[in-house]
């Protein structure tokens, strides 16, 4: 009997210790320490990058990884610390609620305040747990006019219970600077640079279809030699070639893969080549070109940028439509900081392509835990207002 009572006594004492504030504070301290470690060691995806730069760290990091130090915030022991803290809080909050009934006046307010603060922590943990278990996160990329019924994630795609359509994408800029010396928009001067250093040949031809240049490089002895005729036959801003017909077209009007077709003729014959601004070391004969002439000099197609006085971007906006069974459910223009929420999914403006302004990317999130977390935020704010008020008063008393 006696030993039984003793063991019950000690288990009560153990319970008291595990639910005490001291123990709780020790756990809080450990969590803080773990967080600090997590910001100093490379975490998650950073590990591979770090190893590339510091190959010697392999051994050490391998050891860290085994105990979860390279993924602190999602390691089993970090989650266990949070779970212990939650259990502890749950008991503390319940105890406080009993005390609340007996308390009066300012002390009642104080207990109500601290109860709210501790409850709010539980709500935030719960919301985080819901996020970890149920949240979906991915992205959509599409052009003006396109629509989709799913979004992509890192591992696959998720079906949406409705259709999302991109009606319009627009970029808004701040007012431009008043600087007449700069052009209004970015301009891209293009030129063909012809060079043959040994023969002191270097010429520049501004690019325009039909532009011509005649060169007559001197031989090393200073005698004017053979002359060549260089002509720009065609220019495409966004080079694309059909591999079977070898037909060249331009994919868009943007300068994404600018290329020019240059014809060179001399005494020895004539030839044509495609030159590419993005790939200076590569050139290509066009369909059915004669290759009668070997070109003895270098030709480079260069596109530079002269930045305009275009001001920085103020916002980018996508006008979205949600459709269900062919009927319009809602339409909203979203921008960064102003997402669209519909049917449990939230669509965030996330990216765009500077070279193709009809294209945009959205982030898609479904996180049923957010409401719970926000409830926690509200409770915490109210609770802290109360405890701070009460403390300010009681401190005033202590001072007198």
């Amino acid at each position: 009997m006696k030993s039984n009572a003793g063991s019950r006594n000690s288990s009560i004492r153990l319970f008291d210790f595990l639910t005490s504030m001291k123990f709780a504070l020790a756990i809080v301290g450990l969590i803080a320490l773990a967080c600090a470690v997590g910001t100093f060691l490379p975490q998650g995806a950073e590990v591979a990058e770090y190893l590339k730069k510091n190959p010697d760290a392999e051994h050490c990091l391998g050891w860290f990884t085994r105990v979860g130090l390279t993924d602190v915030f999602f390691s089993w022991w970090f989650l266990a610390l949070l779970a212990i803290l939650s259990g502890n809080l749950l008991v503390c909050v319940s105890r406080r609620l009993f005390a609340l009934r007996r308390a009066t006046g300012l002390s009642r307010l104080r207990i109500a305040g601290t109860t709210l603060v501790h409850l709010s922590l539980l709500a935030i943990f719960l919301g985080g747990l819901i996020r970890g278990l149920f949240a979906e996160r991915g992205f959509i990329e599409f052009r003006e006019g396109e629509s989709t019924t799913f979004f992509s994630t890192e591992t696959g795609r998720i079906q949406l219970p409705f259709t999302v359509q991109l009606v319009k994408f627009a970029i808004e800029r701040y007012p431009a600077k008043d600087d007449a010396a700069q052009p209004a928009k970015d301009i891209y001067p293009e030129k063909l640079v012809v060079s043959w250093p040994e023969r002191k040949l270097s010429s520049v031809l501004p690019v325009a279809p039909g532009a011509e240049l005649a060169v007559a490089p001197k031989s090393p002895q200073g005698v004017t030699g053979e002359s060549f005729q260089i002509r720009i036959v065609r220019r495409v801003p966004d080079f694309m070639i059909d591999m079977t017909t070898r037909e060249v077209t331009s994919r868009s009007d943007e300068l994404r893969n600018p290329a020019i077709l240059v014809a060179v003729s001399g005494l020895g014959g004539a030839t044509e080549r495609w030159l590419f601004a993005r790939y200076p070391d590569f050139n290509m004969p066009p369909k059915g070109a004669s290759n009668a002439l070997a070109i003895p000099f270098d030709m480079g197609y260069e596109v530079t940028v002269t930045p305009g006085r275009q001001a920085p971007i103020k916002s980018f906006q996508s006008t979205l439509r949600i459709l269900k069974d062919q009927t319009l459910q809602c339409e909203k223009t979203i921008e960064v900081n102003a997402p669209l929420a519909y049917g449990g999914y939230t669509f965030y403006q996330s990216g765009y392509d500077e070279h193709d302004l009809t294209w945009t990317s959205l982030q898609v999130v479904r996180d049923p835990g957010v409401r719970v977390v926000y409830l926690g935020f509200a409770l915490m704010t109210i609770g802290l207002l109360i405890t701070t008020y009460v403390r300010a008063n009681s401190l005033g008393c202590a001072q007198q």
């Binding site: 504070l25 803080a32 997590g38 900081n337 996330s350 977390v373 935020f377 704010t381 202590a398």
Partner: protein
Amino acid sequence: MTLLFNLSLVACLLALIVAAVNLFVPRRPLAGAVTLLLTLGVLGLTGYLGWRWLEAGRPPFGNMFESLVVLAWAVVVVYLALRAARRIPVLGTATALLATLVLAYASAFESDIQPLMPALRSNWLTFHVFTCMLGYGAFAVSFLAAIGHLITARTLSRASPEVRGAFEIITARTISFGFLFLSVGIITGAVWANSAWGTYWSWDPKETWSLITWLVYAIYLHCRFMRLWLGRRAAWIAIIGFICVLITYVGVNFLMKSVHSYAS
């Protein structure tokens, strides 16, 4: 209008000099002058921030320069708001020194009014920066008071027990106040992140360090107000807390990659 900023800096510097002289004069006749100069400094900064607000058409909380000005403003406001603090001459000197240093450091940053990038265009930014800076300002004063406490708590110190008690109460009060603002600052930051990026928390180094700071001050509040650890031990927690504030506010920018790097 940079003139107003410079005048405020001069006011803080003068307050520092007067306060330092005051320390060596019996019965501290210049205490009123220190308070007056610091008040002028705060008014100047208020006017300067107001002007920037009008000029930019948005709250002046967009970059490192602006946040430092708000920080200096907050430090002095918290000090002036505490009557108990104004009774301790050393604290006035330390506050003037801190404000001067923060403003001087601010001058090293780009002070042109720049347009905000899309992610920063949010009302939450205003609340976030303002509450965080007010919290940091309160923590800065608590740090000064905690150091005062530790120095006067030594047995050899000639300071009276009342002064030590005052230091302790100022520490506790400013942390109590700062904790409220830091909490609201973290919450508004989370809500803002959720509206801009679809996630309220991503374990970014700056976020994580603000959480560490918050946890350390939570430990302080429990120890101090539940009478677990009082006196010097509590003062040490206050000092560790402020070191965490410094890491969160400036350290992270230099040491780690962070989405908050707009600040650098």
